[in-house]
C-alpha cells in the first residue's frame, strides 16, 4: 500500500508526531511505501535541528531525520506554515534576509501542493493531529 502521512502538531506537547513516526516506521518495516510525510500547522516545528531534549527522552526531530536517511523518506515542511513559525532552510534564509536557518537533516521546505499531490498519489492519506 502507498501511504502519505500528514503531521499537524509539533513535537512533545502533542503525541501526534510520535504516533506518526511509529506508524511510518511500522509501515516501512512491513514493506509498505510511504511516499511523503508532510508537516503542517505546528507540525513544521518537528523540522528544526535546534531542538535539544533531555538525554533520557526521545529526540523527535533526529528520529525523523534518521528514518528519512534509512528509507530515503521525503519529509516536507509547508513553507507558509514554516514562515509563520520560524522554520528556515538556506533558500528561505536568503529569500527573507534572515540571519540563520534551522532546518534539520532530511527535511525540505516546499508548498502545500506537495500535500495535495501526496493525497492524489497515495492509496491512503493518514493524518496525525489533535
Amino acid at each position: 500500500m502507498k501511504f502519505a502521512i500528514l503531521v499537524n502538531e509539533g513535537p512533545y506537547t502533542h503525541q501526534a508526531s510520535d504516533s506518526a513516526f511509529h506508524f511510518t516506521q511500522a509501515a516501512l518495516e512491513q514493506g509498505h511505501q510511504v511516499i511523503r510525510v508532510f508537516f503542517y500547522h505546528d507540525g513544521v516545528n518537528n523540522g528544526t535541528r535546534l531542538t535539544t531534549p533531555p538525554q533520557d527522552d526521545r529526540h523527535v526531530t533526529n528520529r525523523w531525520s534518521e528514518l528519512a536517511e534509512k528509507h530515503d523518506l521525503d519529509l516536507v515542511v509547508c513553507v507558509a506554515a514554516a514562515q509563520r513559525r520560524g522554520v528556515v532552510d538556506e533558500d528561505e534564509q536568503k529569500r527573507n534576509s534572515k540571519d540563520a536557518n534551522n532546518i534539520a537533516d532530511g527535511f525540505r521546505i516546499s508548498g502545500l501542493g506537495q500535500l495535495i499531490e501526496a493525497g492524489i498519489q497515495a492509496d491512503r492519506l493518514v493524518t496525525f493531529g489533535d
Binding site: 500528514l6 499537524n8 500547522h41 508548498g111 495535495i116 492524489i120 498519489q121
Partner: protein, 141 residues
C-alpha cells in the same frame, strides 16, 4: 507540473472543518490548503461541522482580539472551483444558528450562463456521514 500529476487521476477531496475560526489557526491554515488544492483539478468539497460552522458566520470582527479577520477569504471559494460547501444542520442548531446567520457564499455556474448559485448546502448529520464516507481524501482541520 510533475509527471504524476499528468496521470489524470481525479479524487474526491473533502476538507472537514470542525473548529471555530479563532482560538486556534486551524481554520485559517485549513482554508489555505483548500484554496491551493483547487489548482490541482480535483473534485473539491468543504464540510463544516461542530464549532466549524462558526467559520462561516457573517459579520465577523476580530479587532478586539487583534488577529487577522480572514473571513472574506471564504467568499473566494466559489472562484476556486469549489461548488459544494456542506454545513451540518445539527451543529448549527446546537449553537443557536441557522443558515441566515451564514455568509451568502456563491459560485458562478459555467454550465448555466455563469449564473450565481449558492455554495452552501445545509445537510443533516446522516447526510454528512454519507458525504464523508463517499469521499476519497479527507483533510481534517
Amino acid at each position: 507540473m510533475s509527471e504524476e500529476l499528468q496521470s489524470g487521476i481525479v479524487k474526491k477531496f473533502l476538507y472537514i472543518n470542525r473548529r471555530a475560526p479563532h482560538g486556534t489557526n486551524y481554520a485559517q491554515e485549513g482554508l489555505e490548503v483548500a484554496l491551493i488544492g483547487a489548482a490541482f483539478d480535483q473534485d473539491v468539497a468543504m464540510a463544516y461541522l461542530d464549532d466549524g460552522v462558526f467559520q462561516l458566520k457573517s459579520g465577523q470582527d476580530t479587532k478586539a482580539i487583534g488577529t487577522k479577520n480572514f473571513s472574506a477569504t471564504y467568499r473566494a471559494l466559489g472562484d476556486y472551483d469549489v461548488k459544494l460547501v456542506y454545513v451540518e444542520r445539527e451543529s448549527l442548531e446546537r449553537r443557536g444558528l441557522s443558515e441566515d446567520d451564514l455568509m451568502p457564499l456563491v459560485y458562478e455556474d459555467e454550465d448555466d450562463d455563469w449564473e450565481e448559485k449558492p455554495l452552501i448546502h445545509v445537510v443533516s448529520a446522516g447526510e454528512m456521514q454519507k458525504i464523508i464516507s463517499e469521499s476519497d481524501v479527507l483533510l481534517n482541520f
